[in-house]
């Protein structure tokens, strides 16, 4: 038998039907649901007189539209309030469990799945959200879908899919102090471009990945979509199993042993084929930051913004437009650029390790007087853990705002926005024009870089603070 990659193994284990010339009917194990991309799908079910096929394969949460202030039950925006209430109603009507606020389980959709132990190796996981790739950290084939497809999965538990091409991304070497998984994925995106992995699922491999924690793997998988990859995944190993052991939704005793044996089968065979291979060198990697308006427009903090002439002619207009929007000039240093806002949070970097990294920099220091800093835990469980470790006090004593869990200012569809013309260093995933609010300027970076920059009031490397 020819050697197979993990993606092929998961694919083959989930094809229900594959007629010649048609896409496959692919079985979905788990669908995660949030308030923004589900209402119209539930409406489709109602219009067609269909029921939810299997509520025990669904989990819903509230994250995108909700406020992150203390009294978050009161939503002032009428549409956002309606959206949240619509999800509550739909979950209630169809018997789908909802991670309700203050239940101890609420949080950003890609944080709550893994922490409950629902994200497991070998699964197909979908959500109406492009950052669903996050769950690939566990060796699951996880990808974002549109609302029509959310409806298909609600009603049938299945999707129509074409078999993806597979790209291997080999990380070589080790991350140095002050350099994080976020820097590694920003480097990959800068290297292959924002459409470099279009049409591919990425398998992250190489000796280096075995040293990555689950949180680091989630950060890397999360941003696979920013280089065009619908999904990105890591083969499961002992780190994966240790993370899963004892979590709420993971089996115990003999059933755990049986699960482990099954999960361990989902690793790539030596010598399996890839449609494309890329290598990223971590040994030379330095803390990264974006200077433009796509996640691929990034560089190491110590280097200069590239000149327009260094881009192909067809790219130059887009780059010029990006620099104008960002209020930056070609060929200038990116370091020392003054900032107004700092954000630690999101499905990319809102987990406990991320908060620890930011707290390590902020401990005993103050956020610069010109900077407003939000620290938003990815979930209620992360918030509780941070409080138990005293991280919340570190943030508050530094002058940062430690808020309630949610997507917050990652995407400017709730109360948390970066004001027009203001510059934010952010641990989130997208620096598109207006992403954090109309006219906002976003620089993507690791939580440690965000914290160090918040202290100095300008973009700086965190290396000297660690």
């Amino acid at each position: 038998m020819s050697p197979k990659s993990i993606v092929e193994k998961i694919w083959e284990a989930h094809v229900v039907e594959q007629l010649s010339g048609h896409p496959a009917v692919l079985a979905v194990d788990l669908m995660l649901i949030h308030e923004v991309t589900s209402a119209q799908a539930f409406q489709t079910l109602a219009d067609k007189g269909l029921e939810v096929a299997d509520p025990s394969r669904m989990l819903a949460t509230l994250d995108h539209s909700i406020p992150t202030r203390k009294n978050r039950f009161e939503i002032f925006d009428a549409d956002a309030k309606n959206q949240v209430e619509t999800l509550r109603r739909n979950c209630n009507r169809h018997g789908i469990p909802l991670c309700e606020m203050d239940s101890g389980t609420q949080g950003v959709v890609h944080v709550v799945g893994p922490e409950q132990g629902l994200t497991q190796p070998g699964m197909v996981i979908v959500c109406g959200d492009s950052h669903t790739a996050t769950h690939g950290a566990f060796g699951a084939l996880a990808f974002g879908i549109g609302t029509s497809e959310v409806g298909h999965v609600l009603a049938t538990g299945c999707l129509l899919q074409q078999k993806p091409k597979i790209m291997s991304v080999e990380f070589k070497g080790r991350l140095r102090k002050g350099v994080y998984a976020k820097d590694a994925i920003l480097k990959l995106i800068a290297q292959i471009g924002v459409s470099g992995a279009n049409g591919y699922v990425i398998e992250y491999c190489g000796e280096a990945v075995r040293h990555f924690s689950m949180e680091e793997r989630m950060t890397i998988c999360n941003m696979s979509i920013e280089c065009g990859g619908r999904a990105g995944l890591f083969g499961p190993d002992s780190t994966t199993l240790e993370y899963l052991r004892g979590r709420t939704r993971v089996p115990k005793g003999a059933e755990w042993e049986r699960a482990v044996e099954y999960w361990r089968s989902f690793v790539s065979d030596p010598g399996c084929a890839y449609d494309r291979s890329v290598v990223v060198d971590l040994d030379q990697l330095k803390p990264m930051v974006t200077w433009g308006t796509t996640p691929g427009q990034g560089c190491d903090i110590g280097s200069k913004i590239p000149s327009l002439a260094s881009f192909p002619a067809a790219e130059q207009a887009s780059v010029k437009r990006a620099l104008e929007y960002m209020g930056l000039n070609e060929g200038e240093a990116i370091a020392e650029t003054p900032i107004d806002w700092a954000f630690v949070g999101s499905c990319t970097n809102g987990r406990i390790e991320d908060l620890r990294a930011a707290a390590q920099v902020l401990k005993g220091r103050k956020v610069h007087k010109n900077v407003t800093m939000y620290v938003v835990p990815g979930s209620e469980a992360v918030m509780k853990q941070a409080q138990e470790e005293g991280l919340d006090r570190v943030f508050v004593e530094a002058g940062a705002d430690f808020r309630m869990p949610g997507c917050s200012m990652c995407l400017a569809m709730n109360d948390d926005k970066v004001p027009e013309g203001k510059r934010c260093v952010s641990s989130s995933n997208r620096n598109f024009m207006g992403r954090q609010g109309p006219g906002s300027r976003t620089h993507l970076a690791s939580p440690a870089t965000v914290a160090a920059s918040a202290v100095e009031g300008r973009i700086v490397s965190p290396e000297k603070y660690l």
């Binding site: 039907e17 923004v36 959206q83 497809e149 049938t156 279009n198 065009g228 995407l411 109309p438």
Partner: protein, 199 residues
């Protein structure tokens, strides 16, 4: 789903690469629970900040074919972006390349996405500027005809083509395999190690 067969309409050039879903429809407009009403929000932020933006120009007001650059529709999975483009009166987008999720979402809404060679797109982007540029897209023949008489064929997945030409929804196709799905679930139950329900 609305059918797509053949269309001759004014082309509206959008000479940008990496047009992202936040540009197409900013997140502030995502709180609606309907599929309707997104057309007037299409490219809202660009329209509000740039008077020369094509969608602000009268000469393009009846355009139904959008011309884009590379990696059109990148970013979020929001199908609202497709609803906004369709709501804005567009039936087709012709570009150098598209992001994957956006491509899937468009096919589910009868919005035809066509990929042509970079050099052809660059020419169309330049010529369509006049506002007097009508393009014909024929899905049955898989061809695009330009005003100068030139014609280009494009690739299109045969299954998707069948669905687009006939206005068929995926959900009915999947439901037609229900007994196979039920059988698959029974066989696979032994390898299921989770439930979202219960304690």
């Amino acid at each position: 789903m609305e059918k797509f067969t053949k269309l001759t309409a004014r082309a509206v050039p959008l000479p940008l690469n990496d047009v992202d879903t936040d540009m197409i429809l900013p997140a502030q407009f995502l709180t609606s629970t309907s599929r309707e009403g997104f057309g007037e929000k299409l490219f809202r932020r660009l329209r509000d900040t740039d008077a020369s933006f094509p969608l602000n120009q009268e000469k393009f007001s009846d355009g139904q074919i959008l011309i884009g650059g590379r990696n059109f529709g990148c970013g979020s999975s929001r199908e609202h972006a497709v609803w906004a483009i369709a709501g804005g009166g567009f039936k087709a987008v012709i570009a150098k390349s598209f992001a994957d999720i956006f491509y899937n979402n468009s096919a589910k809404n009868g919005l035809l996405l066509v990929t042509l060679a970079d050099a052809v797109i660059d020419r169309v982007l330049a010529d369509a500027h006049s506002g007097q540029y009508e393009v014909t897209v024929d899905l049955e023949k898989q061809t695009v005809n330009l005003p100068d008489g030139s014609a280009f064929s494009f690739d299109y997945d045969p299954f998707r083509k069948h669905c687009m030409l006939n206005g068929l929804d995926d959900i009915d196709y999947i439901l037609s395999h229900k007994s196979k799905i039920d059988q698959f679930r029974r066989q696979q139950d032994n390898n299921r190690f989770f439930s979202t329900l219960g304690n």
